[in-house]
């Protein structure tokens, strides 16, 4: 890797690091002639049970990591979508996904990385350490840098003990706002599920139908789907009781629960495939994120915008993280400008609510203009300086993030 980057840097040849190619912002897309750097053959994983740590090469997939952890009796909680994504890609995108509530996103799990800089140096940053305060945290800078600062070749990733009991609960609501306002209340009573997803019945029913399955909750139009994972049956029961009390207090429709592995997997499967139900008519997926307690306000504004533009904006998302996937759907007679206008209005509202235009998919190639528009001037200036410090000749993943 070092040799490749040394040569590329010497001859000013662009290099495009590529993982599983599953990213949603076209961040691995080559924009000019150059080298596409695939790490797929660097795919070894070893598990250090004593330190609850995986040592993974960057080309190992998310699926490989989940499997290796499981075989060692451990657990990698995160599940950011496609299991074909590479460790390198997940780190470069600081991926999050459905199971990020309890213990955070990729950057909370990565404890050390080996990285090759565009100028050819190899750095080991961090390690199997839980604490490390030596100078600026360059590792965290590389995590989420979308392949623009260095090529990650190896990582040390924190694992967890496997939960002994789990359940998936669906809480139905008649009212969108009420559903989203329920989320912070869950945290306030001290319940921290692995995941809290917001879905709309019409959409999950449609998805289930395509899959030849059925969504088990028949009541209400708006559903919260909670995945609880605890160290024992008793602990799980306790969390369920707290939740039921809250449901009674707030007054919701009748929550249902799945405890069998297969029944839980079916629910998650339908949730994960919503995208398939929409994709034929889909123009853009936004991953706007606001403070979790502001979700209801955001959705309200989105409802208003949908009315104003006379369009349908299906929504689902990682409600526990304030991360909402809003879908811009094809509309007869609309041009790119129309979609852009609607998108920008949603972004403006998001920023007003203290949010960000992307909670997990990143800037990549497709969000560069929006990023430029909505990012703080000084912050942008600093980011560009950092890019220059790492990559003076701009050979690594050019045309990404900045325009």
């Amino acid at each position: 890797m070092r040799q490749i980057l040394l040569v590329a840097n010497k001859y000013r040849v662009p290099v495009f690091p590529r993982g599983g190619g599953t990213g949603l912002a076209a961040a691995c897309m080559p924009t000019m002639s150059g080298i596409i750097l695939s790490l797929e053959r660097m795919n070894k994983i070893s598990i250090d049970k004593d330190n609850l740590m995986a040592e993974a090469e960057a080309g190992a997939t998310l699926g490989d990591l989940i499997k290796a952890a499981d075989e060692a009796g451990l657990f990698f909680p995160l599940h950011p979508g496609d299991e074909g994504a590479h460790i390198g890609g997940l780190i470069a995108c600081n991926a999050g996904g459905v199971r990020a509530i309890k213990t955070g996103v990729m950057r909370n799990y990565v404890k050390g990385i080996e990285v090759v800089l565009p100028t050819g140096e190899i750095l080991i940053l961090g390690g199997k350490l839980v604490k490390n305060n030596a100078g600026y945290d360059l590792m965290q800078l590389i995590i989420g840098s979308e392949g623009t600062l260095g090529v990650v070749t190896k990582a040390w990733i924190r694992l967890q003990p496997r939960p002994q009991a789990s359940a998936t609960i669906i809480i139905p609501f008649e009212d969108r706002r009420k559903a989203l306002e329920f989320v912070p209340k869950i945290f306030q009573i001290g319940v921290f599920p692995l995941a809290i997803e917001y879905v709309e019945k019409e959409l999950v029913d449609q998805t289930a139908k395509i899959l030849g399955m059925s969504w088990p909750c028949k009541e209400g139009k708006y559903h919260l789907m909670l995945i609880l994972a605890e160290s024992s049956e008793e602990a799980l029961l306790l969390e369920c009781e707290k939740l039921m009390d809250l449901c009674e207090k707030v007054g919701v429709l009748e929550p249902i629960i799945a405890e069998r592995r297969e029944e839980q997997a079916n629910i998650l499967k339908i949730r994960s495939e919503i995208y398939s139900a929409l994709k034929n008519e889909l123009i853009d997926i936004l991953d706007t994120t606001v403070p979790p307690a502001k979700m209801a306000d955001l959705i309200e504004s989105v409802n208003k915008l949908a009315k104003k533009y006379e369009t349908y904006i299906p929504a689902f998302g990682h409600a526990g993280d304030g991360n909402l996937h809003l879908h811009l759907m094809r509309k007869e007679g609309w041009s790119k400008d129309d979609y852009d206008r609607l998108r920008d209005e949603i972004y403006e509202k998001t920023i007003q609510l203290g949010g960000t235009i992307t909670g997990e998919h990143g800037i990549g190639y497709v969000r560069r203009e929006c990023f430029k528009k909505f990012v703080d001037r000084k912050a942008l200036e600093l980011m560009k300086e950092i890019k220059k410090a790492f990559d003076p000749n701009n050979i690594l993943n050019p045309d990404k993030i900045f325009i």
Binding site: I170, P216, C217, C240, E241, I256, I257
Partner: protein, 262 residues
């Protein structure tokens, strides 16, 4: 309608590992859960009860931990649960299992319908249901994929034995059901929490002594015994490329050797 549903707890068959040397299922390798077909049996009972009223009793023979399956059944809509557990029930073949279940059903008294799964995912024999019916001297219909009509004294059913048969059966009777019959509903959170506090009756062999012969239970009552268990080794696909003029002949040879052609 008084309905009895028979439920067996089995290991999660997608996760369970086999100990090929000892010829045994390694039960610690997978969590236990209700046999999936038995959930269809329970759902059928719930739907019948919703239509006709009455009550549902779930009955299981197994170790103490099978209680969790019975609790799950209570949460999903059963009214009463009984666990048959005793060292003297252990080591039963299907005949002894069926005899024990039938004896317990005699003790329960009046019933209109017994519903079983078509088979279990671990034992896989599909024998227990029909054997229970024989012990009780009632008719049975296996592989029921549809309940067409329900009357006070009879049912009109579709039995799917590869071909579908329309069958009328007089009650009391026993049926075993397939997955096609229904989609089991999920219990409400409220009912799951309630079910944790409900009592599950536990019966041992002595509790059944007035209704059957203790020698019919467990190892003693089993007419068959396991001599050897063989776990087939998994075979991967094999690819061979034949080249050259005699490729076709060589291919034919290999196919013949493997008795794939004559």
């Amino acid at each position: 309608m008084e309905i009895i549903v028979l439920i067996k707890q089995v290991p999660d068959i997608e996760k369970v590992r086999f100990d090929a040397e000892k010829g045994r299922i390694d039960r610690s390798s997978a969590p236990a859960e209700t046999n999936p077909f038995d959930l269809n049996a329970l759902e059928a009972a719930i739907q019948l009860k919703e239509k006709l009223g009455g009550s549902i009793t779930v009955l299981s023979m197994g170790p103490k931990q099978a209680e969790s399956s019975l609790r799950d059944a209570l949460a999903r809509g059963a009214d009463k649960a009984i666990l048959l557990t005793d060292g003297r029930f252990a080591g039963a073949d299907t005949l002894a299992t069926a005899y024990t279940l039938a004896t317990a059903i005699k003790k329960l008294g009046r019933f209109d319908l017994i519903i079983c799964g078509e088979k279990t995912v671990d034992g896989d024999t599909g024998q227990v249901g029909p054997e229970v019916a024989e012990f009780l001297g009632i008719p049975h219909v296996a592989y029921v994929s549809e309940i067409r009509e329900v009357h006070q004294d009879k049912l009109l059913l579709i039995s799917d034995m590869g071909d579908k048969y329309l069958v009328e059966v007089k009650l009391p009777a026993l049926i075993t059901v397939t997955k096609d019959l229904n989609t089991p509903r999920l219990p409400s959170l409220r009912d799951v929490l309630k079910a944790r506090k409900k009592e599950i009756e536990v019966w041992n062999a002595d509790a059944l002594s007035d209704y059957g012969d203790l020698d019919g239970f467990g190892v003693k009552g089993s007419k068959t015994m396991v001599v050897k268990v063989v776990i087939p080794s998994e075979k991967g696909r094999k690819g061979i490329i034949f080249r050259g003029e005699d490729a076709a002949e060589k291919l034919l040879e290999v196919l013949r050797e493997n008795r794939l052609v004559n």
